[in-house]
Symmetry: C2
Subunit: 384 residues, 2 copies
C-alpha cells in the first residue's frame, strides 16, 4: 500500500505513493485541516482545483459535532462532506488534551468534557477505532496521550507506556475488525495493505527524550502498523531540538512505510522535514493565517491589512497561478479584509493552500531530479 | 441602447436587451447587490457561473470605503473588483437617508456623517455624478431624496420638487460630460445611447401619491433619461398599495426605455412587477437570507438550522441545478451553519442567487411563449 518512487541524492528526501480505499496519495503530501469535515472557507471543488489529494479530519470534533449518528445516516464522512478523495482522521488524543476541560486519564481511557457544551464523554482506545471505522476514513490514528513541553523524563516514560498499551489495544480491535471484514467479503488476506481497508498508523511519542523515542518506535514496529506518525513535536520546544528529535526518529523508521510528522508546520519546516525523510504533513497554518490576513508568498509573508497594499494593483504573490492571484489585486483583497468580508478570508486561505501544495509539488520534482537540497536552498533564499 | 424583444400576450410583461459599455443585459434582470464592490461571500467566477449579467454597487459605500482614490488608482470599479460585465451604481441617496446620521439637506445637496467613522461629507447632485463617472459604472443614478412611509402630501411634494431640481442639475453635468467626451474622442453623436458611454437613469419618487408620481414621471420624461427607475417603494407600505403605485407609474413610462424597480423584492414580488411591465430589479434578499440560513426553494422557504434537516440527505432544493444543490446535502449545510462556518453562508447565498436568476430566466422564456401569466400562477402555487 506504500511504494517509494524515488530518492534524492544528497538528502533523505523521497517521493512515494500511498494506496488508499479512495485512491492514491502522492508523497510528500500536505493535508489541509478539515477538522469538522470542512476546510474552513473552501469548497471541495476548490480543494481539488488546488490539487489537494488528502485532507485531515478530527475524530474528537466530529464525534461532538455533528455526532456519529448524523454521519452514519449520510453513509460515511466521505458522503457527509461530499469528498471522494482520501481522508486521514486524527484520533482526538491531542484535542482531548488541548481543548477539553476536566479530563481524567485512566488505564481504561480518557474521560473528558466537551469544549462546546461541557457534556461528559469517555473515549477508550477501542472506542476511538470504532468511531473512525464508522467515519470510514482512509487512514486512522490510535488514541494517544500527549505530554506538554517541557515534561520530566518520568512523566514522559509513564505516559509513553500508557500510549503504547493503548496502541496495542487499538491494534487488536483493528486486526479483529479486518479479519471479520475479510471473511465477510470472502477476501483471504487480512493484511492492512488490502485496498478497500482503512489503513492504521502508529504514533511515536516520547517528547524530547531520544531513548524514549527509540523505545516508542521499536514497540510500534513490533505491532506492525501501515505507517508511522511522529507526534508531540512543534509543541513549544526549540526548533533545533525539534529537528534533532525528528531526524533521530525518522532514521529509526522502516523505508517501506509512510512517515507522518503531525502538526508541522511552516513551509521551511516542511522542507527540512522532507530532507530528513518525512512523507506526510498537516498544519492549520495556511488556512488559519489566510483567515488572519497573512499570505505566504514566494518572497516571504505578506500582511494584507498593511497600508502599503491599499493601492497595490499586483497579485498577492507575483509568481503564483492560483485563482486568487490570477483574479484579484492586493488592493481589492485588502479592501475585503477591511470590510471583514469573508470572500477575503477565503481568497487568502485558497492562495495559502495553493502555495503549500505548490512547494510540495516542486519539492517532488526536485527529489526526482536528485536536486532537492539545491531546491530547498533556493526557496529559503527567496523567502528571506 | 434598449430594445424590446418580445411582449407577453395577457400581461404587460416584456423581454428586452440593454446595451452597455460592458456588454448586453437581457431583461428582465436581477442585479445582486455588490454594495462595496463585492457580492458578499461570492467570487466573480461564481456570479458568472450562475449567469449574473449585471450587479449593483453603491456610490455612498464605495465613496466611504475604499474611497475614490484607491479605485481610480486601480483604474475603475470594474478593474478594482475584476468584474468585466455591467455595473449599475446607485446614487447613495437612499443610503445617506437610511444609514448616515446628522444629515442636513439643503438646496445645494446633502451633508452627512459617515456611518463608519462619523466623518463629515457633502454630496451635491453634481458630486454624485462625478463620483459615478470616476467609478466608471455602466448605469448611473442621480442623487434623490427618499421620504419615509407614511409621509404627508406636502412633505412629499416639497421633497419631490427638490429631487427633480437635483435631477435637472445631474442631467446637465452628465450631458456636458457626454459632449466633452464625444469631442475628445471625435465621436459626432452625444446621445446617451452611444456605446462606451455611461447610461443615466432618472428616478421617479412621489411616495404613495399618484398625482405626484405622475408629475415626477412627466418631468423626468422632459429631461429624457436613458431609463427610468421607480424609487421609494417597498419601504413599509402595504403590498397592495405598492403594486397600485407600481402599476400606475409603470404605465406612464415609455415603452422604449428600461424600467427599474428599486429594492424589490421577493420572487413573487418580482414576478408581479414583471407582469406590470418592469424590467430590472435589485434586492439584498437572496444574499442576506442566504447568510441567515434561509433558502428560497421551488417549494417555499427553508430554514436550514431547523432540526428536521439534521439528517436530511437531500439537496436544499430538489429541483435545482446550482453548485450547492449538486454537491451538498441539507444535513451538511446545516452542520456548517451550526459551526458558523462561512462556507455555509456562501453555499446558501449562491443557491439563492441561482434561484432568483433561474426564476427570471424561466420568466423570460414564458414571456417569449406568451404564457407568462400561467407561469406565474404555477410558480405561486408551488411556492405556497
Amino acid at each position: 500500500m506504500f511504494k517509494v518512487i524515488s530518492k534524492d541524492k544528497n538528502t533523505k528526501a523521497r517521493t512515494g505513493k500511498i494506496q488508499t480505499a479512495h485512491g492514491e496519495v502522492n508523497t510528500p503530501c500536505f493535508m489541509p485541516c478539515a477538522t469538522y469535515g470542512v476546510v474552513r472557507t473552501l469548497s471541495n471543488e476548490e480543494l481539488k482545483n488546488i490539487g489537494i489529494e488528502i485532507i485531515l479530519s478530527n475524530t474528537y470534533h466530529l464525534y461532538l459535532r455533528p455526532g456519529l449518528g448524523i454521519i452514519k445516516t449520510l453513509g460515511s464522512l466521505h458522503n457527509f462532506m461530499n469528498w471522494d478523495r482520501p481522508i486521514l482522521t486524527d484520533s482526538g488524543g491531542f484535542q482531548v488534551f488541548s481543548l477539553s476541560s476536566l479530563r481524567k486519564i485512566s488505564e481504561e481511557g480518557v474521560e473528558f468534557q466537551s469544549h462546546i457544551d461541557g457534556s461528559r464523554h469517555f473515549f477508550s482506545p477501542e472506542d476511538v477505532i470504532e468511531i473512525q471505522q464508522q467515519l470510514g476514513s482512509d487512514i486512522m490514528m490510535p488514541l494517544d496521550e500527549c505530554v506538554e513541553y517541557p515534561s520530566e523524563r518520568d512523566r514522559v516514560k509513564t505516559s509513553l507506556e500508557l500510549t503504547l498499551r493503548w496502541a496495542e489495544r487499538s491494534k487488536a480491535v483493528h486486526s479483529r475488525q479486518l479479519t471479520v471484514d475479510s471473511q465477510e467479503e470472502k477476501v483471504r488476506t487480512c493484511e492492512p495493505s488490502t485496498v478497500n481497508r482503512q489503513l492504521f498508523f502508529g504514533i511515536a511519542q516520547g517528547s524530547t527524550y531520544l531513548d524514549l523515542r527509540k523505545e516508542a518506535v521499536n514497540r510500534l514496529l513490533e505491532m506492525n502498523f501501515a505507517g508511522y506518525a511522529i507526534g508531540g513535536l512543534s509543541v513549544g520546544e526549540p526548533e533545533e531540538l525539534m529537528f534533532e528529535i525528528l531526524g533521530f526518529t525518522l532514521d529509526l523508521l522502516p523505508d517501506d512505510k509512510p512517515r507522518y510528522v503531525m502538526g508541522v508546520g511552516s513551509p521551511i519546516d516542511i522542507l527540512n522535514a522532507i530532507s530528513l525523510g518525512a512523507d506526510m504533513f498537516d498544519c492549520v497554518m495556511p488556512t488559519r493565517n489566510g483567515r488572519n490576513g497573512c499570505a505566504f508568498t514566494s518572497e516571504g509573508k505578506l500582511t494584507i491589512r498593511n497600508t502599503q497594499y491599499a493601492e497595490d494593483k499586483r497579485p498577492v504573490d507575483l509568481n503564483c497561478n492560483c485563482f486568487t492571484c490570477k483574479n484579484y489585486s492586493r488592493a481589492y483583497i485588502r479592501h475585503l479584509f477591511s470590510l471583514d468580508e469573508m470572500l477575503g478570508l477565503r481568497l487568502l486561505s485558497l492562495h495559502n493552500l495553493y502555495f503549500y501544495n505548490n512547494i510540495i509539488r516542486n519539492a517532488k520534482k526536485a527529489i526526482e531530479k536528485g536536486r532537492f537540497e539545491e531546491f530547498k536552498r533556493e526557496f529559503e533564499a527567496k523567502i528571506q
